[in-house]
Amino acid sequence: MMSEEQIKNLEIQFEERIARDEKIEPKDWMPEKYRKTHLRQMSQHAHSEIIGMLPEGNWITRAPSLRRKVALLAKVQDEAGHGLYLYSACETLGTSRDELYEQLHSGKAKYSSIFNYPTVSWADMGAIGWLVDGAAIINQVPLCNTSYGPYARAMVRVCKEESFHQRQGYEIMIKLANGTPEQKEMAQDALNRWWWPSLMMLGPTDAESIHTAQSMKWKLKRKSNDDLRQQFIDQTVPQAELIGLTIPDADLKWNEERGSYDFGEIDWNEFWQVVKGYGPCNKERMNARVGAWERGEWVRDAAMAHAEKKQKQKQAV
């Protein structure tokens, strides 16, 4: 056992390493809080990728053209891959994917609330790619540089692969916005429904965010939620204007002085309700995940049993 003072010393050295931009690797000594915070953030991120497959997976069978169908399939598949990379990063800290699934399925673990909204039209595939992936990228790019090596490496891969996701979504929106009145209406309707949840997706306002200061030090976060939100709005509004869609915010106005858009009040009450499980699809998403996992159990068991039999045969020879 280490004395408290020894631990204190190690902690100081540890923080200095991070401040020097050194990476932390799995077997390095790390403060318990660092391990826990990372496990929480990485697993939430992984869960979000996996749950995120569901609202879009909805539309794979109904995509309007073969070109759109393969793009959407490839995108949802990427999300499975990203979940996998992130779960792997979690496993370097000694928590298995099965344990993390257990936390997700029991409702103990959180995932991005935005996936608790329903996808009710094809335009939602456009809006999700454009807005939700757009917001995610803003969050994720800085993480390629985070202090924990396995997380940073996973994020480099994720960001590289995600570059087509947002384009895929925006291209769907362009096509709809330039299409028939019915298509344009479909696009506007999707923007209306996804805009505010996308803003909420960047996290509670700084005053209410509990983890920020420590996370900044560990480079788990490089900018505050409110800054990220502003960045997202500033980059997205012109994209909407370019294709003739209207952001559903009467208070949205360019502020010359700040060089940014002012925007209306976010309904944080709705946000917290969805987080707490009262969103439109929380139950459906969870049932789908738990169902898939339970239906797959005999398959996973069988594969293990077969592997063990083969191993025994090999040893017997």
Binding site: K27, S96, R300, A303, M304
Partner: protein, 95 residues
């Protein structure tokens, strides 16, 4: 009732001939064949590789960072292993 979970495997991929296999990440699989197939499907879907190695994670022996001092620091001052340690007359341009 689940007996055992699929173990973890580490995946190494050669991107093209002439390059070494590099650690790409990990995944779960019941056996080596499945690990290879999964690695192909997970890590080379964008044409990233031409050869894959998989090894079960538990079979890797890793050095302990606590021993980094004795393992790696003694190499730091052996500067005579590097060409810049040796003086050459300016006239000799390449050696």
């Amino acid at each position: 009732m689940s007996t055992k979970n699929w173990p973890l495997w580490e995946v190494f991929v050669r991107s093209k001939n002439g390059l070494e296999h590099r650690h790409f990440g990990s995944l779960h699989a019941a056996d080596a064949e499945m690990a290879l197939e999964n690695a192909r499907d997970v890590y080379t879907r964008r044409n990233e590789g031409i050869s894959i190695w998989v090894v079960e994670s538990k079979d890797i022996t890793a050095s302990n960072p606590e021993n980094n001092g004795e393992l790696f620091e003694p190499a730091q001052d052996k500067i005579y292993r590097h060409p810049t340690f040796y003086d050459l007359p300016d006239e000799v341009k390449h050696m």
